[in-house]
Amino acid sequence: MVPTEKPDGKSSSVAQTLLLHPDDTVLVCISAIAPGDILMIDQVAVSATDAIQVGHKIARQALKPGDTVLKYGAPIGSITHAVPPGGHVHMHNMKSDYIASHSRDRSPNQGKPQP
């Protein structure tokens, strides 16, 4: 990551992301992102608000509920909650258009969701 100077004088970093296909609406994080890091999205600097791990996705543009998410140039699901540019796109704001994903604490066959 490249260290830069934020307006308030604290040092920050430009996070590395990858655009896999020109049509994509998400970028893939290829080095860990901390809140305050600078994300370069289509030559525009955006300050990261979320901590994001390698392999996770960030929004390339503002995404609204119902929008199809494109990665590898292909649809990979739909947005359920609005995401600002640079926001983390994951289970909390998008869903499968095929079979719902499950996690350890909440899965289709294990009764009610955890509070």
């Binding site: 990858l18 290829i30 791990q53 390698v54 392999g55 649809p75 079979i99 996690s103």
Partner: protein, 400 residues
């Protein structure tokens, strides 16, 4: 050059395994003790735990006991299970491989069968060691690929790098097999476009639709919590990443577990059972898929992982291609290829693809993979049901 073991049925293997196969869980312990007692890294344990009859399980056991990497087989039966042990013994001997059968209820119990089993393994080892050797061309290799513990890096580094390796192998006229139609849900349209005939394209679309319907009945997609922790959000996102392992060659045919490809080229293996869902999840873990690829004749398996799997396999060695540079640092002792270098610009996809290709050749020449050297010999076989392949699935066979 690859110096292969030549079997009497004409097939060529890259390893010379003596397999000890239990035919029901009740014979598992005795079989494991025989394998442990043999103290030979090329004596492998396989088996089927069920007592009820199953055509698929029989077909898989028969295909695996006559696999090109297998030089001889010892079958261990309790005595009352349904597996047709005499027919299986006869199948193996018909392939020219030496084989013996022990029935615990007749051999006098645990200790007697163990002693008899160790003697049998020594005889079988000596016979297998007599297998003639001959050169084997790359075109004679059958290579499978699987992804396990995928994360958001898998589809960017390791999977497309394996795809490049597959393209190289297919250009050499080798046989390459990719699989898990349940992890290709969402890719059916682009995948069908690569089929060599329109009828095969229709078969591919139908088998992915079958997988989606089957997994819906199970209530889960093929998506584990670790996939989400690694940045994957949906099944179709995981699918797109998994799909890139197939490379860019035309798809020459569709196989089912136990089918051998009729000629070199790229093949899709349909691992989801036919008919109404009956016996549970299609593949309960990665090794169930590996076993099915081995039953199709795969000499070795390319296993990509982002989160970090450590498994290997009985019969056919597994090469581990690690997608995530952080995982590689933590689990480097288990990883053969560091594909995560692609993420920080230290290597290109083409370079890593070529590195995998070279590793395939050196492994075929005898150099063990990490999982092989660490003694991983996982094996799992469960109940399933399949219909035979339709006529459109192997267009090459019709032309040939």
């Amino acid at each position: 050059m690859i110096n292969a073991y030549v079997r009497k049925d004409g097939r060529k293997g890259i390893r010379n395994v003596v397999v000890v196969a239990y035919l029901v869980e009740c014979a598992h312990h005795v079989s494991r003790r025989i394998v442990d007692g043999a103290n030979d890294s090329e004596v492998h344990l396989i088996g089927f735990p069920g007592c009820f009859p199953n055509e698929y399980a029989y077909r898989m056991m028969s295909a695996i006991c006559t696999h090109p990497n297998v030089g001889a087989a010892l079958l261990v039966s309790l005595g009352c299970e349904s597996m047709n042990r005499e027919q299986l013994l006869s199948d193996i001997r018909a392939s020219g491989r030496p084989a013996e059968l022990l029935v615990i209820q007749e051999a006098g119990g645990t200790l007697s069968t163990m002693r008899a089993g160790l003697d049998a393994v020594a005889r079988l080892r000596a016979e297998a060691d007599q297998a003639p050797r001959a050169d084997m061309a790359v075109s004679e290799l059958v290579v499978g690929t699987i992804c396990g513990g995928s994360d958001g890096t898998s589809g960017i580094t390791a999977n497309p790098a394996v795809g490049r390796c597959f393209d190289h192998l297919v250009a050499d006229d080798a046989t390459c097999i990719f699989e898990e139609t349940g992890e290709l849900i969402g890719c059916e349209t682009i995948m069908a476009e690569r089929a060599v005939t329109p009828d095969l394209a229709e078969e591919i679309r139908a088998c992915v639709a079958k997988a989606e319907s089957y997994y819906r009945t199970m209530g889960f997609g093929s998506f584990a919590p670790g996939n989400a922790e690694g940045g994957l959000t949906t099944l179709e996102e995981k699918s797109m990443g998994a799909y890139s392992k197939s490379g860019s060659s035309p798809i020459s045919g569709l196989l089912k577990p136990g089918d051998q490809a009729p000629a070199g080229g790229l093949y899709l293996l349909d691992v989801v059972p036919d008919g109404e869902p009956r016996f549970g999840f299609p593949n309960i873990s990665d090794n169930a898929e590996i076993v099915e690829m081995i039953a199709c004749g795969c000499h070795l398996i390319l296993f990509t992982t982002g989160r970090g799997s450590v498994v290997g396999s009985a019969i056919s060695p597994v090469i581990k291609v690690c997608a995530n540079p952080d995982t590689y640092r933590r689990l480097s002792e288990d990883m053969d290829i560091d594909a995560g270098r692609i993420l920080n610009g230290e290597a290109t996809l083409d370079e890593v693809g070529e590195e995998i290709y070279q590793r395939v050749i050196s492994l075929a020449q005898g150099e063990p993979s990490c999982s092989e050297a660490l003694g991983h010999q996982e094996f799992i076989l469960t109940y399933k049901a399949f219909e035979p392949l339709g006529p459109a699935c192997l267009p090459v066979r019709q032309i040939g």
